[in-house]
């Protein structure tokens, strides 16, 4: 049985339905991300799991125990907030010991436990300092240590990295993921940053307007997004309008070209569909391939460091983005105005119902 079961949880704030029958099962020791744009309900869901908000409907089961109506103090979790909420008038040591002191533990036991956590976080030197004397990254680790001190069964992280600068964020991303794996504590992290989710998570639950639209491993979310919304939110995706040419032979017409797909097509002949392909999956050639090829004109070439980003124009108003390695750009002498052929490998072309394309 799953360690944490979220069963059809809904949350209503007045007229607004913040969560709409959300269900999610989380295994013990798993690191799960709630990923989505602001306002999608991910933080609300986290606060309901913590008991800081009450679910309007649905149940939450933790370790076989129904905790839906329990106050936070009677649940079993540690939490780190975006602001860290470190107590500014207490030292780092006192902050970490805060949850332990209440348990009437012997002083030396508490001391040993706090020192252990300080060591775990690489903060041995900082026990006597006040939070304001620490860097953002150190504060973040203190907040994490305070949450872990009580050995919670569940660790909840509410956008813990968003207050840090980019470099610090990248470092802590690795540290937190490593720590989580080492301690084996079941962890739920809320984020709007798809890169964080892809690099850190065991599984990602993508949320949109109060619903979970896809749950899966990062690779699965990235390569086989369930909806155009997921495809668009996680990474960059090109969308193309097409018409089914043959459902049995998995062929779609785009403009006057015919593309073959590997994916099954649910729509009937003549129905409009939306095709999707990631920029790095497109192969650019000046002649080469003849099947699954679209003609395009290069509008702009952007140097991105490790690769070039090409802004392409197809026909009247179709636009696509493709990536190209620097040596290919040099070799083929591609520049603004160059006519190119885009090869769309059949295994990478996804097909969605036409009306679900993001942004219409």
């Amino acid at each position: 049985m799953s360690y944490l079961q979220i069963q059809s949880v809904s949350k209503r704030f007045g007229q607004i339905l913040a969560l709409d029958r959300v269900s999610l099962d989380i295994q013990e020791g798993e690191f799960v991300f709630l990923l989505g744009p602001s306002g999608c309900g991910k933080t609300t869901l986290l606060r309901i799991i913590a008991g800081l908000e009450e679910a309007t409907k649905g149940r939450i089961i933790q370790a076989g125990r129904d905790i839906t109506r329990l106050p936070p103090a009677k649940r079993n979790f540690g939490i780190v907030f975006q602001s860290y909420a470190l107590f500014p008038n207490l030292t780092v040591f006192q902050n970490i010991a805060y949850g332990l002191e209440n348990r009437r533990e012997p002083r030396d036991r508490i001391k040993a436990r706090v020192n252990e956590l300080l060591a775990l976080m690489g903060l041995e030197e900082y026990g006597d300092r006040y939070p304001a004397q620490l860097s953002g990254g150190q504060q973040q680790r203190v907040a994490l240590a305070r949450a872990l001190a009580i050995s919670p069964g569940l660790l909840l992280l509410d956008e813990p990295l968003s207050a840090l600068d980019a470099r610090m964020r990248a470092n802590l991303r690795i540290e937190i993921a490593r720590l989580q794996r080492r301690l084996g504590v079941t962890t739920i992290m809320v984020s709007h940053d798809q890169e964080e989710a892809l690099t850190m998570a065991d599984r990602v639950a993508v949320m949109e307007q109060g619903r979970v639209v896809q749950v899966g491993a990062p690779e699965q979310i990235y390569h086989r997004p369930a909806t155009p919304f997921v495809a668009d939110f996680v990474g960059l995706m090109n969308f193309l309008p097409g018409v089914v040419a043959s459902a049995e032979r998995k062929q779609v017409r785009v403009g006057d070209a015919t593309l073959s797909l590997e994916q099954d097509i649910a729509q009937a002949f003549g129905q409009p569909v939306t095709l999707a392909i990631r920029p790095e999956e497109i192969e650019i050639t000046r002649n080469g391939q003849t099947c699954n090829v679209l003609r395009a004109q290069v509008q702009e070439v952007e140097f991105m460091g490790p690769f070039y980003r090409l802004h392409l124009r197809l026909g009247e108003n179709g636009r696509m983005i493709a990536y190209m390695p620097p040596e290919d750009v040099r070799r083929t002498a591609i520049g603004e105005g160059t006519e190119v052929s885009l090869y769309l490998p059949p295994q990478h072309v996804r097909v969605y119902p036409a009306h679900t394309a993001p942004g219409g």
Binding site: F81, A85, R109, Y130
Partner: protein, 585 residues
């Protein structure tokens, strides 16, 4: 570090040993208690006041008869016109003067700003009655200026008693408040707007009208309504220099104390409430807008030296400061000489209150005690209520109601609170309809407790807002964190919330103490002959013609308040270093 496993140390049970089953109940109980005290102290006492204004002397329902009588008796209804006209006049002059002063303090580069700011706040420590007494010594019938320094110069009679006296006295009384409101508004100015205006080639005058004035709009409106309410409801100044110019506040006093006509007192109280409530509502709306207009990214404005403007500002502030200090100094001097302004030999005989009425040193020490209790109990109850309302989660509608009730006192004139408390606390039985209900609170009547309670309520809203502001600056997740760690809320309140709010707490205690020392309007109805107060003694001595003794008592009150303030500043400077070490980083 890499080899340490997090769970090496044997751990306590996954959950705290003593699960506090009653914590949620305790929260709810405390929130209900907060509501209960607000109902008891603020809301319920207003009900008999309304009832009495609609009844006759024998408690029979007479509808609006009292109001009709008020408006058909010219001797009474004139006070409504008088009150409104003197309040409007004072408001216009006070806000104009305060605007100049606040402008000089925030937008110019004149020297001595710190001292000018200090001088502007001095009147806060002076009982309003003492402003009146100072004016009498200067401009009264035998005043220094009226008689031309005892005949040395041609005299100048400004016709003090009446409109002029009230205007001058109230100016002194409200000036600090108006200056402070405008200074807060001015300090929110965004320097970028000035830079933009300058870079577009606008003249200083145009900048003043297009940037400065609009940015102070909300502050000005707020200053206008606060000043208006303060003047309209003040009792001390018109009592001393009002002469035959009757105003609402003194009328209530005369009806109740002079004629024992409680029904007419209640009627005038309700009439006094109407404009203050309207002013309060407008002020609230305006303040909400100001909050919305506040941009977090505003760059603070730093004034540059401009020689002539700075000089003009300096002279302007100097003149006002001299007027403020002049009146105060007059009170000090008059209390120390044989017979002002004829026999100027120094003496301390006016500080021997044994030959005059009023209660003497007993009254003075009662006031000190009352102020101490008000500061201690008031701060505790104010901060506690604000905490319960802002930080706890259960019973949202109850907390919303408590918040609303906390806003009411600022619209209640002291006289109204005093009279309402008589009606609510004095009777042994409340008569509601035909019912007679025993009053469990009547034991409080005539005790220190009712003086302290009325004073807390009188100054509650400002203190409450101070506490709220301090609490809102704390991370709103502190409570969530401690809940997640299984730490009861009262422990986090004690270990985190309270220490972090210490500056606001001390400030609130000071505010209560100083105001309790000088206040007179509510307690004048509530003190008992065995429990006289200094501020009331000032009235009684002044009434009896013992003006020098009244001045001496005022001096004691001023010295006490200023002394406590200085002690407080000294103490906080050293305590703050230690108690808030975390802040200096």
């Amino acid at each position: 570090m890499q080899t340490t496993l997090a769970r090496q140390t044997p751990l306590p049970d996954a959950r705290p040993a003593r699960l506090n089953l009653n914590e949620e109940h305790l929260k709810r109980l405390l929130i209900w208690l907060a509501l209960a005290w607000l109902l008891l102290g603020i809301v319920l006492p207003l009900l008999p006041l309304v009832q009495r204004s609609l009844s006759d002397r024998h408690g029979h329902w007479v509808g609006l008869a009292n109001y009709r009588r008020y408006f058909s008796t010219p001797a009474l209804s004139i006070s409504l016109t008088n009150s409104l006209s003197v309040s409007v006049a004072t408001t216009v002059v006070a806000v104009a003067l305060a605007f100049g002063y606040a402008y000089a303090l925030t937008r110019t580069h004149m020297p001595g700003k710190r001292y000018f700011l200090l001088a502007a706040t001095l009147p806060l420590y002076v009982p309003p009655l003492a402003h009146g007494i100072g004016l009498v010594y200067l401009f009264g019938r035998k005043g220094l200026i009226t008689t031309g320094l005892g005949g040395l110069w041609p005299g100048w009679d400004i016709n003090l008693y009446g409109f002029n006296g009230i205007l001058l006295g109230e100016l002194l009384y409200v000036f600090p408040q108006a200056v402070m409101i405008l200074m807060v508004a001015a300090s929110l100015a965004d320097a970028r707007l000035y830079e933009a205006s300058e870079s577009l080639g606008a003249s200083p005058l145009r900048t003043f009208f297009t940037v400065t004035l609009p940015s102070l709009k909300f502050g000005l409106v707020s200053a206008v309504f606060v000043t208006f309410t303060l003047v309209l409801t003040d009792f001390g100044v018109p009592k001393v220099v009002g002469g035959n110019y009757n105003v609402l506040a003194t009328d209530i006093y005369k009806q109740v104390i002079g004629q024992q006509n409680f029904e007419m007192g209640a009627t005038i109280s309700i009439l006094l409430l109407i404009p203050t409530v309207i002013a309060f509502i407008i002020d609230r709306i305006v303040q909400k807008k100001q909050m919305a207009a506040l941009s977090a990214r505003a760059v603070p404005f730093v004034p540059r030296p401009r020689r002539w403007l700075d000089l003009a500002a300096f002279i302007y502030c100097l003149l006002i400061t001299m007027a403020i200090i002049g009146v105060m100094l007059t009170v000090f001097l008059a209390s120390l000489v044989e017979l002002w302004p004829y026999k100027l030999d120094l003496t301390l005989k006016h500080f021997d209150f044994s030959t005059v009425g009023g209660g003497g040193y007993g009254a003075f020490w009662n006031s000190v005690r009352m102020s101490l209790y008000t500061a201690l109990v008031g701060t505790a109850i104010t901060f506690g209520s604000a905490y319960l309302i802002d930080k706890l989660k259960p019973l949202r509608p109850v907390r919303a109601a408590a918040y609303f009730f906390s806003m009411i006192p600022v619209a209640l004139p002291g006289m109204v609170i005093g009279l309402a408390y008589i009606f609510f606390f004095n009777p042994l039985h409340w008569k509601i309809g035909g019912l007679s209900i025993p009053n469990p609170f009547s034991f409080m009547y005539g005790t220190m407790a009712i003086l302290v309670l009325s004073t807390i309520v009188h100054f509650y809203t400002v203190s409450f807002m101070t506490a709220m502001t301090a609490l809102k600056q704390l991370d709103r997740e502190f409570e969530s964190i401690s809940e997640s760690l299984g730490v009861p809320f009262y422990r986090t309140f004690w270990k985190v919330t309270l220490p972090l709010s210490m500056p606001a707490l001390l400030e609130t205690a000071m505010y209560y103490f100083v105001n309790a020392m000088v206040t007179v309007s509510a307690v004048v109805f509530l003190y008992s002959p065995r429990l006289k107060l200094a501020s009331v003694a000032i009235i009684n001595m002044d009434d009896a013609g013992d003006t020098a003794a009244a001045a001496a008592m005022s001096v004691l009150v001023i010295l006490t308040s200023v002394g406590v303030r200085l002690l407080y500043d000294l103490a906080t400077r050293s305590i703050a270093r230690r108690a808030q070490a975390w802040k200096s980083w």
